[in-house]
């Protein structure tokens, strides 16, 4: 399995659509532990992404760069910035490559997670979107080409939400509600699951 610039644009567009659809749910979740703007943040990112992705990317990295810029312009909320960072890493790491391979996924996710930890001064286990990405990274390591990728990623992301539900948030706004956060899904983790797509 391999992806061209077109495939990547299509995928990013689908992600954007899913971000828009899940906005109300994510606002509500973020309202319980944070400032309730996660859905709105993703909505703005999605709108700017859609506006920028015009099917003209020559290379996958061009599409990532456009999407990164869109997220950087969108918002001052943490998740928007984390998205921008992740997309920028993808742009930088895939620079020059005409196609991407499924085998590239796990190492790219590793790079993304490392960059996000640096940017967010957080670590795995803090109960954030990063833990979801790590779960996905593990799921796509040693991948068999034939598997349903979306199902695999989605299942991993959903599992991660449950694995962390009973743990306290250790970073971000939700840190201030550490006790309250036990038993609640981390909004950012739910966002990752929604972005990669619900298993059908």
């Amino acid at each position: 399995m391999s992806w061209t610039a077109d495939d990547i644009e299509t995928w990013l567009g689908n992600c954007a659509d899913r971000m828009t659809q899940s906005a109300p749910e994510l606002n509500t979740l973020d309202g319980q532990l944070g400032d309730g703007d996660l859905g709105a943040t993703l909505q703005k990112c999605a709108a700017l992404m859609k506006a920028g992705l015009l099917g003209t990317a020559a290379l996958p990295s061009d599409a990532f760069k456009t999407a990164a810029g869109a997220c950087a312009r969108a918002s001052g909320s943490s998740f928007g910035t984390l998205l921008a960072v992740a997309l920028l890493v993808l742009a930088q790491e895939t620079a020059g490559k005409p196609t991407l391979l499924v085998q590239d996924m796990a190492p790219l996710l590793e790079k993304i997670i490392a960059a996000l930890m640096l940017r967010g001064r957080s670590k795995l286990g803090d109960k954030t979107a990063l833990d979801s990405l790590e779960a996905i990274r593990l799921a796509v390591s040693n991948l068999q080409d034939a598997e349903d990728l979306q199902l695999l990623c989605s299942a991993a992301a959903e599992r991660a939400i449950e694995d962390f539900r009973m743990r306290p948030n250790l970073i971000g706004r939700a840190r201030m509600f550490a006790e309250k956060s036990v038993g609640l899904a981390d909004p950012g983790m739910v966002a990752v699951a929604r972005i990669v797509g619900r298993a059908a």
């Binding site: 950087a72 970073i171 706004r173």
Partner: protein
């Protein structure tokens, strides 16, 4: 929600518009989104630029402190929400006079991520920048975890002092060092009595009983140290003074500046009642107060409450604190 506004979504933009209309001699808006406020006349060639940024709803913080001897530009988010990475980049570019840019802002996760990212992206374009985080709120973490503390009203001291250092021609390293020194020397704590309402949200940021106050609450309603029955102002002032001076090791002969700041609704009369206690208590310790500030220097819209900030001065900090500076909300002649 009882506020004088039009569409809640336009609150931040219309407020910035009004500010620039009222004070065109100080402020200009620019950037794709209009969320950059920068000095009228632009950066000063050869001088270090100072950029700050953060959410709306805290005037004069942040954008109000753009002015000669203070900040060069600010990126402004929605109410209580950080500015975007792109706006941080724009603010830094606009502030750049060729001698590099200091990013000087409150220690909030989102803002830090965005400024750091902006700085890295501009580094690729050859713009030199440094960062100093203000983390003055003693209520937000123990002193062992100072890097987790939030930035509150005390940040205006680093603004003023770094601004003076830049205005006097210091290079980026020098300005950064003195800004960090000012940030290190400064401690704050707030006390909240009633919440405010974020226009877009339409409901108060927290709930509190008729007879309660919360010591140490943050400027966005972040939880504080304790919540309890209202007490006499002198007791509240004494506790706040104790908490902010704890780590400063004040001794006879020390010189400090003091900021008694309204979070919004608390009137000048009550700030002066607090200041009266603090001035007397510091005088009793033979600590001198330099350029006391009593008023609204960092607010949370119509929140009721006050904060106390202290900065311990050495000769260098004091000289920069007293250097001339001007903006629509504060001037030092």
């Amino acid at each position: 929600m009882k506020k004088l506004l039009n569409n809640p979504d336009n609150y931040a933009d219309e407020a910035l518009d009004g500010m620039c209309l009222a004070h065109p001699e100080f402020y200009q808006r620019s950037g794709d989104t209009g969320r950059i406020i920068h000095r009228t006349g632009g950066p000063i060639k050869g001088r270090v630029g100072i950029v700050s940024g953060g959410g709306s709803g805290h005037l004069p913080v942040f954008a109000g402190y753009v002015g000669p001897g203070l900040l060069d530009a600010c990126s402004v988010g929605n109410v209580f929400a950080g500015p975007s990475v792109a706006d941080c980049m724009d603010a830094m570019k606009i502030a750049d006079g060729g001698a590099g840019v200091l990013c000087l802002y409150g220690n909030y996760g989102g803002d830090r991520m965005n400024f750091d990212m902006a700085g890295e992206m501009l580094a690729m374009e050859g713009l030199a920048s440094t960062t100093v985080l203000v983390a003055d709120d003693v209520a937000s973490a123990q002193s062992a975890e100072r890097d987790k503390r939030r930035g509150v009203a005390g940040m205006i001291y680093p603004f003023k002092i770094a601004g003076a250092a830049a205005a006097s021609g210091g290079d980026l390293a020098t300005v950064t060092v003195i800004a960090q020194k000012a940030a290190n020397a400064c401690r704050s704590i707030g006390v909240a009595l009633w919440p405010c309402t974020v226009p877009e949200a339409g409901k108060p940021t927290f709930e509190i009983a008729e007879d309660e106050l919360e010591m140490g609450m943050g400027i966005h309603g972040e939880p504080g140290i304790w919540r309890g029955k209202l007490r006499p102002a002198d007791e509240i002032a004494a506790e706040m003074l104790q908490r902010v001076s704890d780590e400063l090791d004040l001794v006879k002969g020390d010189r400090v500046s003091v900021l008694v700041n309204s979070l919004g609704a608390t009137p000048h009369e009550e700030l002066f009642i607090l200041y009266r206690h603090i001035a007397n208590a510091l005088a009793a310790k033979s600590v001198s107060i330099i350029m006391p500030l009593v008023g609204r220097y960092a607010t949370s819209m119509e929140m009721t409450g006050a904060s106390l900030s202290l900065i311990k001065l050495d000769a260098e900090l004091e000289q920069h604190l007293k250097a001339p500076a001007r903006c629509a909300f504060w001037s030092v002649a």
